[in-house]
């Protein structure tokens, strides 16, 4: 069946379209060029804004730590249950929504894909099982490496780049991952030996390798394997005043190789001023602007109750004293990594939180290339993903932004340059930052754009001056050519798919890994490996090409 989406204002930065009126043709779930035949169905989109489905490049939606967070957020689930209605199953939560609610809320906001950015190898099977229960959106996981004892042993043994790449390639394939993530490289492992702080150039307590070396080795492996997405880095000393130095160190450590710095807001702090806590957003933004191999996502905080959940046990142990409510969990996990879950409330009248809010916005407004900066709140660490429309409004509406700034702790404006930043994001830049750019960064060649051959993930908005209202409730959302949301209501259920890479590597590495699993892990390697038919009951994988040295 051929469907014509007629006369909308199309924002498709990948094809260079910035609001021109045009038609889209959809057949068999794909965008096709105008075939010249009469469409079976025409939907009139005159006056509407049309974009590809949005892609959340970093959102903690599935896996062990997310489930632990749900358990700790018991009060939220008691207060915010979701009643089953129509196609939407019951569930609940805001910062830690249940799986069906996660998929429905994302879809209702025009998102057609979201990626779990911290999937542990030992927990990957759980993450995939949970992702399969999130309807409507595509998913995938980034594999956490760089604290696993096997990797550190391999690196410490003097293994060359090839062997390291083989290990990384084998792990990505076995765990059905899309990209490589590193969280506080070396730090989670060091915490298991009672090290509570990290120095980028100090050798680790057991494997005696520096975090700088771990980082460099992983970036090189990703490049060598040709994984599309750069090494996705949750950097050192998260949340610690003065950590901008460590952030700059991590950029230097990869020596020009592509690198993605995640939730950079939490890593952009100086120690100036009477409170010894200041914004280093300008420094970071300048570095990003002049380094084309760098991309970032912001990790914006928004005020209110949420929960911080990450693999970074060292940082979370440090945060535990600030838990609100006063409960928290930390786990050391399977000679692999760890997790830390600390509920948290960001308060607009608290100087530190208010400045964090400003720092995130400064990053958005100072980085000039919308292809290298992505819109995230590090859900749920900065705020629930349902806050994205509010964030878009803050970026597109300077007066609104300044009004909000005036409501915060009164000392904040003097401690940041946000008041002087007049920039307002355009619709085209939003489309780039939330669609075209994340798709390109992840190597999803047929998503994030509306050119012929693209998957027909299409979102239609009414252009409203209140950008929050506009982005909160798209008129229509299509997933793979099928209408799934109309005016905020689910009209069809569909299953997403799981995106993975299978980088070429020398299979001989498996024997090396297998010997160590036999000796230590109490689990056979054959049982550790995830079979393709385990993903979404067998038909769930989308494999993306790796091209060594190309990215």
């Amino acid at each position: 069946m051929l469907t014509k989406l007629a006369g909308g204002r199309i924002y498709d930065p990948a094809q260079g379209r910035d609001g021109e009126v045009g038609d889209l043709f959809v057949r068999d779930g794909r965008i096709v060029a105008d075939p010249g035949t009469e469409p079976d169905e025409t939907i009139d989109l005159s006056g509407k804004v049309v974009m590809a489905g949005a892609i959340d490049i970093h959102s903690h939606i599935a896996g062990g730590k997310v489930n632990l967070a749900r358990l700790l957020m018991a009060e939220e689930h008691r207060a915010e249950p979701v009643t089953a209605e129509g196609l939407c199953r019951c569930g609940g939560g805001v910062a830690t929504p249940s799986t069906h609610v996660t998929g429905c809320r994302y879809a209702q906001m025009g998102y057609t894909a979201a990626f779990e950015p911290a999937m542990l190898a030992s927990n990957a099977r759980h993450a995939h099982l949970e992702m399969a229960d999130i309807p409507l959106i595509d998913t995938g996981g980034y594999l956490v490496l760089g604290n696993d004892d096997l990797f550190l042993e391999l690196l410490a043994s003097g293994a060359g780049e090839a062997a390291i790449a083989d290990y990384v390639g084998w792990m990505l394939t076995a765990t059905r991952s899309l990209a490589v993530k590193s969280v506080n490289p070396g730090g989670i492992n060091a915490f298991k030996y009672n090290q509570r702080k990290l120095d980028v150039d100090a050798v680790g307590p057991f494997h005696a390798i520096t975090p700088r070396r771990i980082l460099a080795a992983l970036a090189a492996a990703v490049r060598r394997l040709g994984v599309p997405h750069p090494l996705h880095l949750h950097g050192f000393n998260l949340g610690v005043p003065g950590n901008v130095e460590a952030t700059l160190d991590s950029i230097a450590a990869v020596d020009g190789l592509p690198l993605h710095l995640t939730h950079v807001q939490f890593h952009a702090y100086g120690t100036e001023g009477d409170r010894r806590f200041s914004s280093a957003a300008t420094q970071i933004a300048e570095m990003v602007n002049r380094t084309p191999t760098l991309s970032i996502d912001v990790g914006q905080i928004m005020f209110g109750q949420t929960v911080t959940a990450s693999a970074d046990t060292m940082a979370q142990m440090g945060n535990a004293g600030h838990a609100h409510p006063k409960k928290w969990a930390v786990m050391d996990i399977e000679c692999d990594a760890g997790c830390g879950v600390v509920p948290f409330r960001y308060r607009d009248k608290a100087f530190v939180n208010a400045l964090q809010w400003a720092i995130g916005l400064e990053l958005f407004l100072l980085v000039t290339d919308p292809w290298r900066i992505f819109l995230t709140t590090d859900h749920p660490n900065g705020a629930p993903f349902t806050s994205y429309p509010e964030l878009i409004r803050l970026l597109m509406d300077r007066d609104y932004r300044l009004a909000k700034l005036a409501e915060l702790h009164p000392d904040v404006p003097a401690h940041c340059i946000l008041p002087s930043l007049a920039r307002e994001y355009t619709l085209g830049e939003i489309a780039t930052m939330t669609r075209a750019a994340p798709a390109r960064s992840l190597g999803l060649k047929d998503r994030g754009h509306l050119g012929p051959g693209a998957a027909a993930d299409v979102v239609v908005y009414t252009d409203r001056p209140d950008r929050r209202a506009m982005f909160e409730t798209p008129d229509l959302v299509f997933k793979d050519g099928r209408l799934i949301v109309r005016d905020g209501v689910m009209v069809a259920l569909a299953a997403g798919r799981t995106h993975v890479v299978e980088p070429g590597h020398d299979p001989a590495i498996e024997a090396w890994i297998d010997r160590r699993f036999e000796a230590r892990m109490g689990q056979k390697l054959a049982h550790f490996r995830i079979s393709a038919d385990e993903i979404r009951d067998g038909d769930g994988l989308v494999r993306h090409d790796c091209r060594p040295g190309a990215f």
Binding site: H77, T83, H126, Y193, N194, E334, C335
Partner: protein
């Protein structure tokens, strides 16, 4: 005859995946280990039986229809037992949502001794491979966990730590005696027994916490143990709460969790709550991710209401008028009071105190069909293989059929 190697055992939560199981004409025998749980469970494979309705053989479709009818006409249904794999739990939750049932797992009492503490305070915990490779001091508290998890020491304690220097480990038993089999299993691993009573676990944990910073006045053994904890590189405190005495064992667990946090101020320490029978950990994971809240939840009125007191199956069964009970790991089922319509998804050969209204024999995960289950330390999920085919349906298929047989009008 066939020999199956590297068989995954789904029964007690340790997740042993190294079993050798011999198969001969549909009968299985575990050859590689003496573990009584594995031997008994794998050894129990009576031939398939047809479903029964009202005690008489019935077709699958008739049994499914009868089960659907019971649930749809009930006023207060309970979907429990949940002794099944991830697919089975998913199907059970979908059915429970359609009929507005309360959901719980048979083993949730043991689970909640830990989970109640986690929900209100969180904890510092670790997993099996960390214990095996990094722990230099293991403190086992309460009744020996090997009573419930027979291979615990063999698999996770005896092998020397590969990631700790020096590569040494010692074990201390507190408020519980190691079993004879444990003493034998530990072999060369040095261990001490500090005498004490399982009813005193909370008080002893509190005394240990105090002794960490102020050993004066501590009972003999406690001061010494406190010092060893402080000197350890990576101490693990392990306990099997299902074996703790008393109705308020969570208060003792809470003291243990605090002890771990107190030791962790100075050095590294983590707790290891041992659990996992009949995939209770897996059932709880699935429930939590699908509903947002854990087991012991009502789906009446179409939204989850979580209440570990009111919706514990042992309590709610008195209010329930229909019970759908799932027990695919063991040929056992509790007895329910008369006046309840019981639908049993049970292993063939299960003996019932009273004949249920509907019985649908099901296959055993890991024996009749491949299955996803969770290991007891809650992070690792395993996929079992399957060994024989008795022609039994799996729980997920039965529950999906029952759900499909419900009237198609809007659920409550």
């Amino acid at each position: 005859m066939a020999t199956h190697c590297d068989v995954v055992c789904p029964f007690c939560g340790l997740g042993c995946d190294d079993l050798t199981v011999e198969e001969d004409a549909g009968r299985l025998a575990v050859r590689s280990t003496d573990c009584p749980v594995a031997r008994e469970r794998f050894g129990h494979t009576p031939p398939a039986e047809p479903p029964r309705v009202g005690g008489r053989p019935a077709s699958f479709d008739d049994a499914v229809r009868a089960a659907a009818e019971i649930l749809w006409t009930s006023r207060a249904p309970l979907v429990a037992g949940l002794g099944t794999d991830v697919a089975g739990v998913r199907a059970a939750l979908a059915l429970a949502e359609r009929v507005g049932a309360v959901v719980d797992h048979e083993r949730s009492e043991g689970l909640y001794r830990n989970l109640a503490v986690f929900q209100r305070s969180g904890w510092i915990a670790t997993t099996f491979a960390e214990l095996r490779n990094r722990c230099d001091l293991l403190l086992v508290v309460g009744p020996d966990p090997a009573a419930l998890h027979p291979r615990f020491y063999e698999r996770w304690v005896v092998p020397p730590p590969a990631l700790q220097a020096p590569a040494l480990r010692e074990v201390v038993f507190l408020c519980g005696e190691p079993l004879e089999t444990t003493r034998a299993a530990l072999g060369e691993v040095p261990f001490t027994v500090i005498p004490g009573d399982a009813t005193q676990i909370g008080a002893v944990a509190a005394a240990l916490s105090t002794a960490l910073t102020d050993p004066t006045g501590a009972a003999p053994g406690i001061a010494g143990l406190a010092e060893r904890l402080r000197a350890a590189h990576y101490a693990v405190v392990a306990w099997a709460a299902a074996g703790f005495p008393g109705a308020h064992a969570d208060l003792a667990v809470e003291r243990l969790v605090r002890l771990v946090q107190d030791v962790n101020r100075q050095t590294r320490c983590a707790g290891l709550p041992l659990a996992g029978y009949d995939n209770v950990v897996g059932a709880n994971q699935v429930c939590t991710w699908q509903l947002g809240v854990p087991l012991r939840t009502s789906l009446a009125g179409g939204a989850p209401r979580h209440d570990p007191h009111r919706f514990a199956w042992e309590r709610f069964q008195h209010a329930a008028d229909a019970v759908l009970w799932i027990s695919a790991f063991r040929p056992e089922m509790p007895a329910f009071a008369t006046g309840k319509a019981v639908v049993a998804l049970a292993q063939p050969g299960t003996a019932f105190a009273a004949e249920p209204a509907v019985v649908i024999p099901v296959g055993t995960p890991g024996i009749d069909h491949a299955a996803h289950v969770f290991r007891g330390d809650s992070i690792v999920a395993l996929r079992t293989g399957h060994l024989i085919d008795r022609g039994l349906p799996d729980v997920a298929a039965v529950l999906s059929a029952i759900t499909a047989a419900l009237p198609q009008e809007a659920s409550c």
